[in-house]
Amino acid sequence: MTLPKAPTEPRRKPGYFGNIADTVTSTAKGMALTMRYLFRKKVTVHYPDVKPELDERYRGIHYLEQELCINCDKCAKACPVDCIEMDADRHGKELEWKKFQLDYQKCMFCELCVYPCPKDCIHMGTEYSMVSEDRSDFVLDLLSYTGLTEEQKVRIAAAEKAKAEKLAAKKAKAAAEEAEDAKE
């Protein structure tokens, strides 16, 4: 069916019997349509049982690829509501993360924080439901947030491990040097 053009002439106003005929026919037409609706396939889904399929572009709760992040604060600066807070100690090239917090009571899921990232390490995931009786639960630390895919988790775990090893090696080296210094 194609769409009609807007009519340009008003309809004639019906008289007494025209009114009756109009009412009966238009109600009958409407009822025929609703009767067809009655047997048509339903469009709703049973939400908690059937989850909607979300596109990968969906702007849900963020996730962070921590090993890539350089603590540059660009996402926090881009945020219109200042809901991102990050803090890390720098050990040479390595970062020791203290926090990367997102306050979801403020966040409006505008995705403006994702674009300025120079390392492309902050993303918005497909997780969308946040329910709690405690407001502090809405302040998520993305360092411990587990809304990551298995693959990402493995990658991050490996990176963390490598980083920890490097740090441990550094510390050991420093300790050894100190010990040597003490000897001397």
Partner: protein, 390 residues
């Protein structure tokens, strides 16, 4: 504000009642919590039985200082706030703001981005008008059209979700272009939606526009004359419903609207008087068909290419100056007046919102009609309170 609400009607001429008994008009507060006010708005009605003697709208329940926020955040950071004044037509709000900022920057948006903007704006117009038509049915007591409308609107929202990841507050159209390119197959999905919508459009026609009870409830109700519409600054379907041939898409073309072929729908008093509630709804119904026409042309013509202007980045520093850009929002003329002093924060952001101007005349349409018509008139104005109050 005076102490007694009745004093608000002092400016209206007194009504003469030829009775021995002392009578008094009944003052009713319709809202702030009322099913027919489309949000948090209050209408103080002065009623003589079922007949309304006066009406006074009270706004401001949803004021969120949107304009003031604009003076405190970056140019780009204000974009998500534009989503939130007319939450049913956020794409159009984004577009209006982006065009205003671009006019300060003097940036020309790439062709593909322009087409994507028009596609999104027109899809949003369909979604918004669907919701307007559906809730209008709800105001008049017909539930089913609303659910049919939501069913079709849902498809549009899914399209938006696929292109920008959000369903209501898109922030998709931004100064310099658009946020993302359309994903693969998205344009085909739009075409498929249009095919389906061309079928379901007739259902609204049957359930609402053609229904005798609907006609009785809307025709000759709340007649807004052409003169009144112009002097109150009404725009959009409200203005065109009164027979004024004015559409910013055609008369002040922005983006690529001057290359597209479409008609401007205006009211003709199809079932009653020119400018009645029926005509406003009628205009919305046929604007949807015109949007489908525009979308079909856009889908056929859309070129490949860049989607973002090269020089417009995350931090925008327009040259000092001011600019006013207005676009045709589903509800009327949405104007953005922005002033820059060359820094990365605006000096002034002012929004001319269509719902506010359209709503201001509603209280003058109500006197003389009946209590049930109050819902009919407010519904036909199709306000979004988030936009009147900002």
């Amino acid at each position: 504000m005076s102490s007694h609400p009745a004093a608000e009607f002092d400016h209206l001429p007194g009504r003469e009642v030829e009775l021995d008994v002392a009578t008094q008009d009944c003052l009713i507060h319709m809202g702030p919590q009322h099913p027919a006010t489309h949000g948090v708005m209050r209408v103080l009605l002065k009623a003589d039985g079922e007949i309304l003697a006066g009406a006074q709208t009270h706004l401001g329940y949803l004021h969120r200082c949107a304009e003031k926020i604009g003076e405190n955040v970056d140019w780009l950071q204000y974009l998500p706030y534009t989503d939130r004044y007319d939450y049913l037509a956020a794409m159009n709000n984004n577009l209006g703001y982006s065009l205003a900022v671009e006019s300060l920057l003097g940036a020309e948006v790439p062709a593909r981005a322009q087409y994507l903007r028009v596609i999104c704006a027109e899809l949003n117009r369909i979604a918004s008008h669907l919701f307007a038509v559906g809730t209008y049915g709800l105001d008049l007591g017909a539930f089913t059209p609303l659910f049919s409308a939501l069913r079709d609107r849902e498809e549009v929202l899914e399209l938006f979700e696929k292109i920008c990841g959000a369903r209501l507050t898109y922030s998709y159209i931004r100064p310099g272009g658009v946020m993302n390119d359309a994903p693969e197959g998205w344009l085909t999905k739009v075409a498929e939606f249009l095919d389906r919508f061309e079928k379901t459009w007739h259902e609204y026609w049957t359930l609402m526009v053609e229904n005798k009870i609907f006609i009785e409830r809307t025709a000759n109700i709340g007649v807004l004359t052409e003169e009144q519409a112009l002097s109150w600054g009404c725009t959009g379907p409200m203005l065109r419903g009164s027979g004024v041939d004015w559409d910013l898409r055609r008369d002040q073309p922005y983006l690529i609207y001057d290359q597209l072929e479409f008609d401007v729908v205006k009211g003709i008093g199809y079932r009653g008087t020119l400018g009645d509630c029926f005509d406003r709804n009628f205009v919305r119904m046929f604007e949807m068909t015109e949007s489908v026409r525009i979308l079909r042309q856009c889908l056929a013509q859309i070129p490949d290419g860049e989607i973002m202007h090269e020089e417009v980045g995350a931090v925008i520093r327009p040259a000092p100056g001011e600019s006013y850009v207005s676009i045709e929002n589903p509800r009327g003329e949405l104007g953005h007046y922005v002033v820059s002093n060359g820094t990365k924060i605006a000096v002034r952001v002012r929004v001319r919102s269509p719902s506010f101007c359209n709503m201001s005349v509603a209280e003058h349409l109500m006197p003389g009609s009946m209590l049930g018509d109050a819902a009919s008139i407010i519904g036909s104005v199709d306000i979004v309170v988030g936009e009147t109050d900002r």
